[in-house]
């Protein structure tokens, strides 16, 4: 017998079949083009950071931020639409599928999307000699944890709001700042001391540092367990919130 979680995952994959062409460009091709032009182009001017060439330095940053973008981007309009217009969660609610099945099926789908983009990106980076340690192989796991740490709370947020105008606020005040100040393009040490705590509360920064330590073969600024714990807190809190939000939305 098929597990209801798998049934929900299948639905999301079936729908993805219809729009994968559009998303391949933004989630796979774009990051690759981006890292090549910035890494090779800008890298020619700035040289390196901390003894590493610039391309190798930003690859782990862009890798994690790709996972971050997919985690946030996928979980906004789609989730709201599935509640408000399609009402597909209402449809599932009338079956043995329970709220955890809906959430797991949805988040597994998002993680699959994240992993496909991350693996393609890694392969291209390896071809350009931007990976310097076998630890690079754990970056997909880091990205999965990051994906969950953002997808779960954003899904919860999307299940709470009544209108998509809230997403503009989310992008402007949460997503863009946490991308800029997360050590993707330049080290957070360059930030003024006042702004630096912003990086520490951004799940992206923790993932960027873990990925960078992995691809360059060094140690992250905080103990690995501390970075992982921060991401895990986001993931667990997000799941808890999402479960509540779904329950509330479907109950009345």
């Amino acid at each position: 017998m098929a597990h209801p979680t798998l049934a929900v995952l299948e639905r999301n994959l079936l729908l993805y079949r219809r729009l994968w062409r559009a998303s391949v460009f933004s989630s796979v091709v774009l990051p690759v083009l981006f890292v090549l032009s910035i890494g090779l182009g800008v890298g020619g001017y700035v040289g390196g950071i901390g003894g590493t060439d610039y391309l190798s330095w930003i690859v782990p940053g862009v890798l994690a931020s790709t996972a971050f973008q997919i985690g946030v981007g996928e979980c906004t309009y789609t989730v709201l639409g599935d509640f408000r217009w399609v009402r597909s969660y209402h449809a599932m609610r009338a079956t043995p599928v329970d709220i955890w099945d809906m959430l797991r099926g949805w988040l597994l789908y998002v993680l699959l999307r994240v992993e496909v983009a991350v693996v393609v990106f890694l392969v291209v980076s390896a071809a350009f000699g931007a990976l310097h340690s076998p630890w690079a192989l754990v970056t997909p796991l880091v990205c999965a944890l990051l994906g969950l740490a953002v997808a779960a709370p954003v899904t919860a947020f999307a299940a709470t709001v009544e209108h998509d105008s809230y997403f503009a606020l989310l992008f402007r005040f949460v997503m863009i700042p946490s991308t800029l100040f997360a050590g993707v393009f330049f080290p957070v040490e360059q930030l003024p001391g006042l702004v630096r705590p912003l990086a520490y509360v951004s799940p992206l920064w923790h993932a960027v540092e873990l990925c960078r330590a992995a691809t360059l073969g060094g140690a992250p600024p905080w103990p690995v367990a501390a970075h992982v714990a921060c991401l895990a807190v986001f993931a667990v809190a997000g799941l808890w919130w999402a479960n509540r939000a779904f329950r509330k939305r479907l109950e009345d």
């Binding site: 017998m1 098929a2 597990h3 209801p4 798998l6 049934a7 929900v8 299948e10 639905r11 079936l14 729908l15 219809r18 399609v86 009402r87 597909s88 209402h90 449809a91 599932m92 609610r93 009338a94 079956t95 043995p96 599928v97 329970d98 479907l250 109950e251 009345d252």
Partner: protein, 297 residues
């Protein structure tokens, strides 16, 4: 009993439905029909009172009960970007059917819903009647013991409604237990063995359509229209014609056992109605009598 904050949507109703029965909740918009259906579907929990579905308690066995229900909600919630067939197979998977079984079941139900030719089409361009048929077919994927239909034909044109009734009638003949809501009298009369009339969250009457008509109305109703004359002013002159006289804004209803005799009496009293219609009494008359209001405005 169901409350939303301070507002009581369903105010203490007491019903039981036997297996194989077709049971209806009849009432105007806002009567609390959908709120009741959502509690029966184990989607929303009663604020107070006792509820048993298929002999089980929804608070404890929700998912187990839902596995044996077929639900056709008031608002369609088909997946517009999936094909007609995919809507059925996807839903079948929610009930744990294997892929192969889901496909087989989908073909059967496409046939049942007369949508075989549309199987590969997307849902979006389908007509309202087709979407409704698909929603009902989808509710049947798990071969449910109890089928819940919330206003199955609201908003459809007469032809689409008749086709749907015919399909629902087939389910009834197959021995399925049906619980449906409607604000159409003819629908209730066509499909329900027994029904309750709801208004303002309460039950105002219960029985079979025939029994309700016999108890609260008369065999026939004469509808009289008098052009520009106000119905209310003419009631006095109709005193004693039939068993009861009911003035509406645009016409007068005379409840009587014998319509033709009543019409003859009206003419004998020198009244000249601009139009006369003798018809069989319907649930509409029952509702009007019980609540003083019409069902659909």
């Amino acid at each position: 009993m169901k409350r939303f904050g301070d507002f009581t949507a369903v105010d203490g109703i007491d019903v039981s439905v036997a297996p194989g029965e077709a049971f209806g909740f009849l009432g105007p918009n806002g009567a609390g029909k959908s709120s009741t259906m959502r509690m029966i579907a184990c989607v929303s929990m009663p604020t107070a009172g006792e509820l048993r579905i298929l002999g089980k308690d929804p608070a404890v066995h929700g998912s187990e009960i839902r596995a044996r229900l077929g639900v056709c909600p008031q608002l369609d919630n088909l997946d517009p970007d999936l094909s007609v067939r995919e809507n059925l197979t996807t839903y079948a998977r929610y009930f744990g059917l294997s892929r192969q079984e889901a496909r087989r079941r989908a073909e059967e139900l496409l046939e049942f819903a007369q949508l075989t030719e549309k199987a590969a089409s997307q849902v979006e361009p389908l007509s309202g009647g087709m979407k409704r048929r698909l929603t009902i077919a989808r509710a049947m994927v798990n071969d449910p013991d109890l089928v819940l239909l919330d206003e199955p034909t609201t908003g459809l044109d007469p032809q689409a409604r008749h086709l749907l009734w015919e399909r629902l009638f087939r389910l009834k003949q197959e021995g399925k237990t049906l619980v449906l809501t409607t604000h159409y009298m003819d629908e209730a009369e066509q499909l329900c063995d027994r029904l309750v009339v709801m208004d303002g969250g309460r039950i105002v009457a219960e029985g079979s359509p025939r029994a309700l008509i016999e108890r609260y109305s008369t065999a026939e109703v004469v509808e009289l229209r008098f052009g520009v004359l106000r119905p209310a002013d003419l009631v006095g002159k109709l005193e004693g014609v039939g068993e009861r006289v009911d003035p509406l804004p645009d016409r007068i209803l005379v409840y009587t056992g014998d319509g033709d005799a009543a019409v003859a009496e009206v003419h004998r009293r020198g009244l000249a109605p601009s139009s006369v219609l003798v018809r069989r009494s319907s649930l509409e008359d029952v509702f009007l009598h019980l609540t003083g209001r019409r069902l659909v405005d």
